[in-house]
């Protein structure tokens, strides 16, 4: 009997086991990016920029050249790389604290300049690495280490809707929000990531995919409850869909 390979690990990721918590969807999102790089056959022409937060070690997982940026500065570092090497693919992989809080200026200006880079923005509505503090994307009423009574708009203000905001910038060419809470959505997420890199390939400008993700550890939920939480609580506030598409196609 001959065995047929029906599934294998993507060459877009290294052999190194990730450090992510059980039930966290970072691993899934890594794989989607890795698969897209492999399928587009651009792994050897890609430089990734790691950020600070749970995904700080992503440079050990992506199987391409990687540079580690300071907290929030990945889009600026990516700009430096891309401007020197315009024919390479450059992406950043950032969480919500990194991108939407300390690094909001860098990502907005990278988009405004139409930097031809791809940003993978992982939004799980909380700071994971530092121990479950409020993020700019924390939902109203959501309890975190720094909003122990729930996020109160009179005290902490309202969540930032990054895709909606970025879509207003002329330099942004492709902006989509996706989710990883079930298999059909994961497949959609992969398509979005592929489209983002294709946007870069076509030189259309800034592309970003916001991926709604889980944090079972800091949410205090088990993995399946976490997936449900994304669907029930996050998606109504962060509607999925394409917010900007200068590339065309589906």
């Amino acid at each position: 009997m001959t065995m047929k390979t029906v599934f294998k690990k993507t060459s877009g990721l290294t052999e190194k086991p990730t450090h992510y918590c059980p039930g966290c969807t970072h691993g899934v999102i890594h794989r989607l990016v890795g698969e897209v790089l492999e399928e587009m056959d651009i792994l050897e022409d890609t430089i990734g920029v790691a950020s600070v937060g749970c995904s700080v070690l992503s440079y050990e997982y992506f199987n391409c050249d990687m540079t580690q940026a300071a907290h929030g500065r990945a889009p600026a570092v990516a700009t430096g790389v891309k401007r020197v090497l315009p024919d390479r693919f450059v992406f950043t992989y950032q969480g919500d604290g990194d991108l939407a809080s300390i690094g909001i200026s860098e990502v907005i200006h990278a988009a405004a300049r139409g930097e031809n880079i791809t940003v993978i923005f992982v939004n799980n509505a909380i700071y994971g690495m530092t121990g479950g503090q409020m993020a700019p994307t924390t939902l109203v009423g959501q309890k975190t280490a720094t909003t122990p009574f729930g996020r109160d708009i009179h005290i902490q203000g309202s969540p930032i809707k990054v895709c909606e905001m970025m879509a207003t910038l002329d330099g942004a060419a492709y902006i989509e929000r996706v989710s990883t809470h079930d298999v059909p959505h994961i497949q959609k997420a992969k398509k979005a990531i592929r489209r983002a890199f294709e946007t870069q390939k076509e030189g259309k400008g800034f592309s970003m995919v916001e991926v709604l993700s889980t944090c079972p550890t800091n949410w205090g939920l088990d993995p399946s409850e976490s997936l449900e939480w994304v669907k029930e609580n996050m998606i109504p506030i962060y509607p999925l869909g394409v917010y900007k598409n200068k590339v065309g196609g589906k």
Binding site: A50, D65, T67, Q68, A70, A76, V77, V81, R83, R88
Partner: protein, 354 residues
């Protein structure tokens, strides 16, 4: 190309272009804005790229990105903006990325003013950002010297994989003097096989990072950095002396202030006071040698600075208690005049309290 009359800020920029720097990421701030504007016009002519960043923080991080690809890259700022760059500078050191950063110092603290100062001496020579590190700092005193030191700065940066700081003051940036540029130089030194440019054709993925989660590994990395700093201390000391052979008193000053002291020294010598000058060119590593050679012979040293007294600490360390060390400084953007320096020399030499 012969001599040309240029502004200091423009000389810095042109010297960088001559040293093979094709990438510049900047943000406007007085008194170094001409440097940024010059690069914006000049770099496209040599097939390079100028980009105005949204902040000094973004600019230094763009430098990190460009440096990680192995090219010669530069940024510049003035004191308040330079403070903002400290984060990125610490990352450059930690990731061992070469770059040249220029600080045209102005009066502080806070917003201060835009007049010349040297009050960022501590910041540039003692680390400045977080972590255990030093950065080579070169302080030119004339526009011609800028041309030499910018070339040196890029060479040192590549040789040791380190950021290098050029420290000037508003006066140096704004003044004009004749300068002569040499030939264009292509970056020399070893191939940058550490650069992250994509793996095509060069094997396994490379990583540029300053993260080392395991304590003992980070300690080892720090030890390697310290070895590098020790080597720089051994190899890259630069200084100049003036009239010290018979000197009974020695002034210590760097940058433009050193030039002003030379007028005062000439006048003091006419009045019979044997005084000389040690001019540190590398502020880090600080030149201990000329002090060790003179400290048992002279009656005293007088540090002259555009600060409340910062370099004087390094002077005292170098003199090591062998002779008195006096101080004269002006702050807030006030430049010490040759007349007042002369008076200080005379009272110092006369045994009057300084």
């Amino acid at each position: 190309m012969g001599k040309v009359l240029m502004k200091g800020n423009e000389v810095i920029a042109e010297a960088a272009v001559h040293a093979g720097c094709k990438y510049f990421f900047g943000y406007p701030i007085t008194p170094q804005s001409e440097l940024v504007a010059y690069m914006a016009r000049r770099l496209p002519e040599v097939g390079g790229l100028f980009l105005q960043a949204e902040s000094e923080i973004a600019a230094i991080n763009m430098v990190c990105g460009a440096a990680s690809t192995g090219v010669r890259v530069m940024t510049s700022s003035s004191s308040p903006g330079f403070s903002l760059k400290q984060e990125g500078i610490s990352y450059l050191v930690g990731s061992e990325l070469p770059a040249v950063i220029c600080n045209i110092v102005r009066g502080g603290p806070g917003l201060g003013n835009i007049q010349p100062a040297q009050s960022d001496y501590f910041q540039v020579t003692k680390g400045g950002g977080h972590g255990d590190y030093n950065i080579p700092v070169l302080a030119p005193a004339s526009l011609q010297e800028i041309v030499e030191l910018i070339q040196d700065a890029f060479d040192i940066a590549d040789r040791y994989r380190t950021p290098v700081i050029i420290m000037g003051d508003g006066m140096l940036g704004q003044m004009m003097e004749p300068v002569e540029f040499g030939e264009y130089s292509e970056p020399i030194g070893q191939t940058k096989d550490w650069a992250t440019t994509g793996t095509r054709g060069d094997g396994a993925p490379k990583i540029i990072s300053s993260l080392e989660l395991d304590a003992e590994s980070l300690e080892k990395r720090n030890e390697q950095l310290q070895e590098k700093f020790a080597l720089i201390k051994e190899q890259e000391v630069r200084y100049e002396t003036y009239e010290i052979a018979d000197a009974e008193y020695i002034l210590v000053a760097f940058g433009t202030v050193a030039r002003i002291t030379m007028n005062a020294i000439q006048k003091a010598r006419k009045h019979g006071v044997k005084v000389g000058l040690i001019r540190p060119i590398s502020l880090w590593p600080f030149p201990d040698k000329p002090f060790i050679e003179t400290r048992n012979k002279v009656n005293g040293y007088l540090a002259v600075e555009m600060s409340a007294g910062q370099m004087i600490e390094d002077v005292r360390l170098a003199v090591n208690g062998c002779a008195p060390v006096g101080f004269f400084g002006r702050t807030g953007g006030v430049v010490p005049s040759q007349e007042e320096i002369y008076e200080k020399i005379m009272s110092f030499a006369g045994g009057l309290p300084v």
